[in-house]
Symmetry: D2
Subunit: 229 residues, 4 copies
């Protein structure tokens, strides 16, 4: 997929634009720039990655919840595929990085969850349980699309180093055709959900959910960033 | 409250009208007419009442769920009041009838749930869990308002007997000011919820929920009616 | 998998035994025997299959819910695999049967749900939402293993016809290695869940759930069986 | 109720003891001691109280959820009473404090939730949704009983000032007979729930929930404490 991500498309584009500064702080966080130019200290990345492993368990549960919340087969299929992608593709990347540092998967699972990890994951899950599938989608999409945008920008940035960058495999994962296709599909799917169950009256509430999730993403980078020294 | 119920008001009025025949079959079921003119055989009423006791436990849970699903204090207050009304007013009526027949509350709780009871209660609960508070309200309201309408009609019907009618206490409960006020408040509340989270696009889905609940109410009377002989 | 199903194994074996008559009525229902000896009238099977298509949508949602309810990766993987098996293997069988009768998938989706379908599916889903993953497993397993047992018995029964039996493809699906392996895995998994979260004190409640689901299975066959004439 | 709280009783006593240092850090946090001796700077208390107002909305939802999760009338009644106590007794105290500082209830509701508030409340709610009523109780009880213990200790501490202490009304609320009776009832109720659905095998998981909630309580005081200067 060499096409740019449809970041300005439909309801996602509107939510992203209306979230404003918070979206930019998420996408251009120093942690991210440090990944691109390889200046991010390893302890910061390690801490992030261990927490992100715990995050992904909860995020896979959130996609399973989206399967429960869907009423058509397309939604059920997409949810099962998302769970499988997280468990069988995204998490093995984390495990392989951690193995390179002498950390086993059992150790990663035993790591205590940081406040930021708890806040973000339980916010998303609870939003989906209290509301409907559209509320859940609005909580899930900043992470899903944001990671694709983060890496799209990094790869277009002359400051980004590929050679000798220890974080190159991480960037490659979120630049993969599969990941970008999933992000684009989520953007399309949000439009369909909004057409079915959304309204102008619901928009402020969906924006509050989207913005809260975006801030929790920013806080998640920050959690890693604080460990840089 | 001597004012008539606002049955044609707002979104409830629209759902009731669009449910059409199914609503009429629920409201004018022979079981109901037999309560009014005191011709309903006692075994039919007894069976209904025992199942309705089990139903009310689940319905109180559904109102508690509505409390969880609400995001403002008014919704939480209304839910707590509804649970209390069911548990402390409506269920004691059932217990008192059953006591008159030599049936203890423990025996009522041990009664197996009929298919109709399972279908209706779990449908409502699951609709509320899968969807949002508006979906739950659309599933709850046919019962809540329908009982008030049933008794309003009976009391206006010359065929209805009050004196010597063994079911007079049952009618009185759903003709009480408190019950009618709760029904009227639910009609108002549905309008507010629809304004916040509804849309024309969601209407067919809400109508499907409302109609399914109405049919399950009709089936609930039918379950009692079958025991008349 | 030529090994017999581990029907007497562990907690499943105990629940199955303690459910007693209700389990036998589910497994040896005349509807099932009519499938085996090809005497089941087509209208009965058609009605069943259309309702079972609707059932499977809800059952796939229930497996997605089990994914949400799991806290380890094995549970998430199993749930995603179960959803995929239902949506991509089991449902296409139904669609193909119905296509042979001139019925499109859109028509199947538009079919109204029978009381039995509503009762069973919403009971399972709600049990899982109100309780924990073990409660959900106890509600899911009678269907999953029961179908494998039904067909295992039919195929061992001399009265069963394979040649010229219009229901042979249906039997083959639930006799497949994949299906039987999934049933055996569910029996093993229930033991692990019970070891983690079960207890003797919980057993009566789990048995009540298992027995209720078994009775709802029997009622589901009965729903088809009533349409035989 | 002049009797001491039954802090060492039953399963609560065991969880509290096994949580160890984390429980002590929650109960004896400098924020709390500053309330007792009136040295806590007002900005710290104000920030805490505004966040606690938002917390209580979610906590009332959590008690409503406990009502949904209960299967007997006692549980439903207790849940409705808890919601009412939060909404009609505990929150008005916050509103009255804030009114004294010129802050309206609308302003309190518009306050953004801090990370600590999101993490704690969504953790509790999600724990209850993913697990059963016992999991939810284990997540709810540290707050409910902890507040009673905090104030019991303060009132027994010679360093505590009552006269001229601006936080005296806050202490009085959690020293009230009603609040202490609710805390004692929760301790009793946890024993009953554990007897019904608990087991030694579940204990580590329940302890993890209880300990996580305790740490999130400590972080909640810390959130206020950081604003003291």
């Amino acid at each position: 997929m060499t096409q740019p991500l449809p970041l300005h498309h439909g309801i996602f584009g509107r939510l992203r634009r209306d979230t404003g500064e918070a979206w930019e702080r998420f996408i251009r966080h120093p942690f991210v720039l440090g990944i691109g130019d390889a200046t991010l200290p390893q302890p910061a990345f390690q801490h992030y990655l261990k927490q992100d492993y715990l995050f992904l368990i909860q995020f896979a549960r959130a996609h399973a919840l989206a399967g429960y919340k869907s009423t058509d087969l397309a939604g059920l299929r997409a949810a099962a595929a998302a769970v499988t992608a997280i468990v069988d593709t995204e998490m093995p990347l984390h495990i392989s990085y951690c193995a390179g540092w002498g950390l086993t998967e059992a150790q990663m699972q035993a790591e205590p969850e940081d406040m930021e990890t708890i806040a973000y994951t339980r916010f998303v899950l609870e939003r989906g349980l209290a509301g409907d599938g559209l509320d859940l989608d609005a909580a899930l999409i900043p992470c899903l699309v944001g990671y694709a945008e983060v890496v799209e920008r990094l790869l277009a940035d002359p400051a980004t180093r590929q050679e000798g960058n220890p974080y190159a495999a991480w960037m490659a994962a979120y630049a993969s055709d599969d990941y970008r296709a999933a992000a684009a599909a989520a953007i399309e799917s949000l439009d369909r959900q909004f057409a079915l169950r959304g309204s102008e009256a619901r928009y402020p509430d969906l924006l509050a959910t989207f913005t809260a999730a975006t801030r929790l993403e920013e806080a998640f980078w920050e959690m890693g960033w604080r460990r840089r020294a």
